[in-house]
């Protein structure tokens, strides 16, 4: 038994509470700012307590009343775009990764290693380092300003393939052997045995990939010029540069709250899967 030191326990709690306050401060600021008038941000110190304008601000931003966002589309529409982007990326990545991991682990075929390495290379090249050529490819395919252009180039994922591969390798051989003796074909084995076993991994990956998709910034910024395809995360920056000296902070913060809400809810609701999934990624 390790000794019990009450003062040390007290220090632990104190540091943790302090940490939570410091980490939570930006959210407090954003929430408070979203309930105040723009006049409260003109001079003096910014408001630190809730105002009366909350409902009003959220209504104006969600409906883009009086072009408050400086673009032709409302925040609710842009959140819908972000949602489509996040869902297509998450589901698409999981689908194509689980299929390719299945092929790599359970089949022997020429160029198997080459395929594995080609997929692995994608892990090394984040979109940020090859933005211009990727943009040119997407433009030449006529995919600018479309949901396809927003999602498909980001859908190949070495990380997810790697994760599923590791997981499949940990499944006992006897399962596949038994399935084969019973006369089940590969796709039946995949559907009836592998897929149910992978539910936890899929859930964990979904959280990570949904957040990845929702939070994309550079990519939508490059390939959308049509306001109908703007996402909620990228519009924030446009608001910042709207009018120097007279930045509508209450509107910006209302938009940031809306931009944070869906991914934070996903993390909190699926916390258990998410934490396990993250830690497993490293293995």
């Amino acid at each position: 038994m390790i000794e019990n030191r009450p003062w040390l326990t007290a220090v632990r709690h104190l540091v943790l509470i302090l940490g939570i306050i410091v980490i939570g401060l930006p959210i407090w600021i954003a929430l408070v700012a979203s309930t105040n008038t723009s006049a409260s941000f003109v001079s003096g110190v910014m408001p630190m307590w809730f105002g009366e304008e909350g409902l009003n601000n959220f209504r104006r931003v969600l409906t883009n009343e009086g072009r408050v966002l400086g673009v032709g589309v409302s925040a609710s529409w842009m959140m819908w775009n972000s949602f489509i982007m996040a869902m297509v990326i998450a589901i698409g990545k999981i689908t194509i990764s689980i299929l390719s991991a299945f092929a790599i682990v359970y089949f022997r075929f020429p160029f198997r290693r080459t395929c594995f390495w080609m997929i692995f290379i994608t892990l090394m090249l984040p979109v940020e380092v090859r933005i211009l050529p990727t943009y040119e490819v997407v433009a030449s395919l006529g995919m600018l300003n479309s949901y396809a252009g927003l999602t498909i180039p980001l859908i190949a994922s070495a990380t997810a393939t790697f994760l599923f591969r590791q997981f499949f390798l940990s499944i006992p051989d006897s399962l596949a052997e038994a399935a084969r003796i019973d006369g089940a074909g590969p796709m039946k084995f995949f559907k009836d045995i592998l897929l149910p076993l992978s539910v936890n991994n899929i859930a964990a990956l979904f959280v990570i990939l949904f957040i990845y998709g929702w939070n994309q910034y550079l990519w939508p910024l490059l390939i959308t010029t049509d306001e109908n395809y703007y996402t909620i995360v990228m519009v924030i920056k446009r608001l910042m540069t709207a009018g120097e000296g007279n930045v509508p902070w209450n509107i910006i913060m209302t938009t940031t709250v809306l931009a944070m809400l869906p991914p934070v809810v996903v993390v909190l609701v699926m916390q258990k899967f998410f934490v396990r999934g993250l830690v497993e990624q490293e293995k």
Binding site: I2, L16, I20, I96, R130, V138, I252, P263
Partner: protein, 293 residues
């Protein structure tokens, strides 16, 4: 490996791999090749003429003071983001490790910033440090310092570092905590019986055992700071004041999409790719080594 038990099918595996391979080829390998090819060309801004110039783009870059400045800025920025994010996370994980009451609540309240987009984090911190109305600028003013990240290079750097590191704390925290909880209790108990106090135990047992995780996190954080913080810079400092926060990724974007200097931007992409590949190999070597333990 499943060497004995495999399905015999000549065509199916290619069908299963096809979607992944097609996307990889079209959106990863082809653009990467394009970048490599363009890095050897000089093209005018309208694409009317191009000339093959061998390594001129690279030679020009490495003789350009601005590029060296950008390299320096990127390393300082990444170092600070990785170090501060990991230090705070380690402290919080060490505190949370042995807490029993309220452990779940603490964890929940510490992990959600993972979900916040870097650009969103940046905008909120930018407001808090706003020289005329920000609460943190006001606090610094009461301490006798006039905060202004529009003018002061170090202060601009501080804001983007804080915003980027803040978001990473939860990620680091999850890994450090998982690592600490995997340390056998008997080790700690043995040390306690031998009479070493909690601080000595942390530095002599827990900390060394965490070093593989710390190394893994270091690479992850550096990669994050290098490549995923474009939004942080783009939404706030725009690389300024002067060139104080112009990181390599931001410069690639600026030279390519604003300056329309294709050759230079492609050459910078190639340098970044080499950098990422090096980092990934280091990380991979490390994972392999750990597996052998």
């Amino acid at each position: 490996m499943h060497d004995n038990v495999v399905f015999n099918n000549k065509v199916l595996p290619y069908f299963l791999l096809a979607p992944q391979l097609v996307i990889t080829l079209v959106f990863f390998i082809w653009p990467a090749g394009q970048a490599l090819y363009q890095s050897f060309l000089i093209e005018d801004a309208f694409g009317f003429s191009r000339e093959f110039v061998w390594l001129d783009n690279f030679i020009y870059l490495f003789s350009d003071d601005e590029y060296w400045n950008s390299i320096r800025v990127t390393f300082v920025f990444s170092g600070l983001v990785a170090f501060s994010g990991m230090a705070v996370a380690l402290l919080l994980a060490a505190m949370a490790d042995r807490v029993i009451k309220g452990a779940t609540t603490y964890k929940t309240l510490l992990i959600w910033p993972y979900a916040v987009a870097p650009v969103v984090a940046a905008v909120i911190w930018w407001l808090m440090f706003n020289p005329s109305i920000g609460i943190l600028a006001f606090l610094s003013w009461t301490l006798g310092h006039q905060w202004n990240h529009y003018v002061n290079a170090n202060e601009a750097m501080a804001v983007v570092v804080i915003a980027s590191a803040w978001k990473q704390i939860s990620y680091n925290f999850i890994f450090f905590l998982a690592g600490m909880q995997a340390i056998p209790r008997s080790l700690i108990e043995a040390a306690a019986i031998d009479g070493s106090g909690p601080f000595k135990r942390f530095w002599q047992i827990v900390f060394p055992l965490l070093s593989p995780i710390a190394f893994f996190l270091l690479v992850v954080n550096v990669v994050y700071a290098f490549f995923e913080t474009f939004g942080v810079i783009h939404a706030t400092t725009l690389g300024g004041p002067g060139n104080a926060t112009r990181t390599l990724v931001y410069k690639v974007y600026e030279d390519g999409f604003v300056g329309l200097d294709m050759g230079s931007s492609a050459a910078q992409s190639v340098i970044l790719m080499i950098l990422v590949i090096t980092l990934t190999i280091i990380q991979f070597k490390f994972i392999e080594r750990k597996v052998q333990y």
